[in-house]
Amino acid sequence: MTVSRPWRIGLRTLALLYLGALLFVPVGLIFYRTFEHGIGAVWASITTPAAIHAFQLTLEVTAIAVPLNTIFGVVMALALARGSWRGKGLVNALIDLPFAVSPIVIGLSLVLVYGIHGWLGSSLTKAGIQVIFSLPGIVLATIFVSLPFVVREVTPVLKEVGDEQEQAASTLGAGAWTTFRRVTLPSIRWGIAYGVVLSVARCIGEFGAVSVVSGKIAGETDTLTLLVEKRFSNFDLAGAYAASALLALIALATLLAMTTMNRRREEGDA
């Protein structure tokens, strides 16, 4: 279809207006509002003990959840792309559940299992291990919501690359682990990297599930996202903006990483 010039400009304008009103202007505005009163105020706001702790907690949780889900992701991707086994279709569908389930339901489900009266929680509490309202609960919630990303990025790469190289390595005498380390892993490294970036963004940004399981104990179980909400509820609008701007910057950095990787991947394919 060759669209005539007036139509093309019209469609473009409409699209950009939609995006502007919904995305660009609101995000731009929040940066403006945040730095309206100078960087000093913002810096002070994000370096309070509560903020620093929230930041540290968020990073800690991410640092635990992402590597675990990456290992899971790669192993599961290998199983999905290479094998045919009973239940494969079902597992494949189940992996998407964290995308489709409400974060509140996720939070509730963890409370029901690991809470004081929960299925596993009751025994854990007796053993002195607290999950809900404590770090482990937040970690579990974060693992849940970020579970599918690495699998979903690596599986299509594995399928496309095919297993001929691995077969070649095998005929040359390489064992399973060596083949994996020297042949398979390098071929999927961009898929893994991309999946990791997406997972990290998701972990840092999780709110709903963590709302339920964290108990929001100030200075202890507040993640950065919970801090934003807490400050807002306490009418500390500037503080909420500051923390939000920090999170938005992290999000933009994520986008930058994603775009750069996408371009590298395309160049790698060419």
Partner: protein, 273 residues
């Protein structure tokens, strides 16, 4: 030593590593995801069918569910139109800054939902520079959902549009069709599965959304309260069984949508060869 003598034991080892890995991965999936979700269902039913029914059909539960479904459908409808348009412009048009715009489309994926809510509140809430204040209204919920589901249809349609055989459009043109006809009879039917997939993903996301709605909607029962917020309130007011019951309904909706997406994937590929 022949090559086969080397590969047979290697393949056997590979197979047992594979089986072990798959077993562990499935165990991980079950413990992290399946175990907790099944706890929700079991708990929801643990008070008996009567209690379950009461919790799910309480006036507030029904109001929340109806509002959730309606506003999610409206979100999806608008983002299907907007998203298809934006995908078209990104694929077929050229203008300075297009690459930046394309990258920014993913921002709702990367941004924490609570920040998204705050972001929309700044422009469309009480201190709006434009004077538009829709905070605490149903429109606010719609706006929040439009924001968080924006990328779904766009990212679903884009690759299909890129792969679309331009010669089909040229063939239609040579046969006498104008742009409107070409779009309606050639382009759209080939985009439909992707549009619907994106729509289904957006719907699933919208129905469960919490963080972006919590600040901007005011969570007024019977007016701007969505099911996820209702469940949250039930949890906070220590009514876990009712919370679990309503959650079970939400889970059911999620599962249905997941199945629909799979089916759409297969339907979309039916003429591929």
């Amino acid at each position: 030593m022949s090559a086969t003598a080397l590969t047979v034991p290697a393949r056997r080892a590979e197979r047992s590593y594979g089986a072990l890995g798959l077993g562990l991965a499935t165990l991980w999936l079950s413990v992290i995801v399946l175990l907790p979700l099944s706890a929700v269902v079991v708990h929801g039913l643990s008070g008996g069918a009567g209690a379950f029914w009461d919790a799910v059909t309480s006036a507030q539960a029904i109001a929340a569910l109806r509002f959730t479904v309606l506003v999610s459908l409206a979100t999806v409808a608008l983002n299907v139109l907007g998203g298809t348009l934006i995908a078209w412009v990104l694929v077929r048009d050229r203008f300075p800054g297009k690459r930046v715009v394309n990258a920014l489309i993913d921002l709702p994926f990367a941004l924490p939902t609570i920040v998204a809510g705050l972001v929309l509140l700044t422009l469309y809430g009480q201190r709006s520079p434009l004077g538009i204040d829709v905070a605490f209204t149903q429109v606010a919920v719609l706006l929040a959902l439009l924001f968080v589901t924006l990328p779904f249809v766009i990212r679903s349609v884009q690759p299909v549009l890129i792969e679309l055989d331009r010669e089909m459009e040229e063939a239609a043109l040579s046969l006498g069709a104008g742009n409107a006809t070409i779009f309606r009879r050639v382009v759209l039917p080939n985009l439909a599965p992707a549009i619907l997939s994106g729509a289904a993903l957006a719907f699933a996301r919208a129905v469960g959304e919490f963080g972006s709605i919590v600040l901007i909607s005011g969570n007024i029962p019977f007016k701007t309260q969505v099911s996820s917020v209702y469940v949250f309130n039930l949890i906070e007011s220590d009514a876990p069984i009712s919370a679990a019951a309503v959650s079970t309904v939400l889970l059911g909706v999620s599962l249905l949508v997941l199945l629909a997406i799979r089916g759409l994937g297969r339907w979309g590929a039916r003429h591929d060869r």
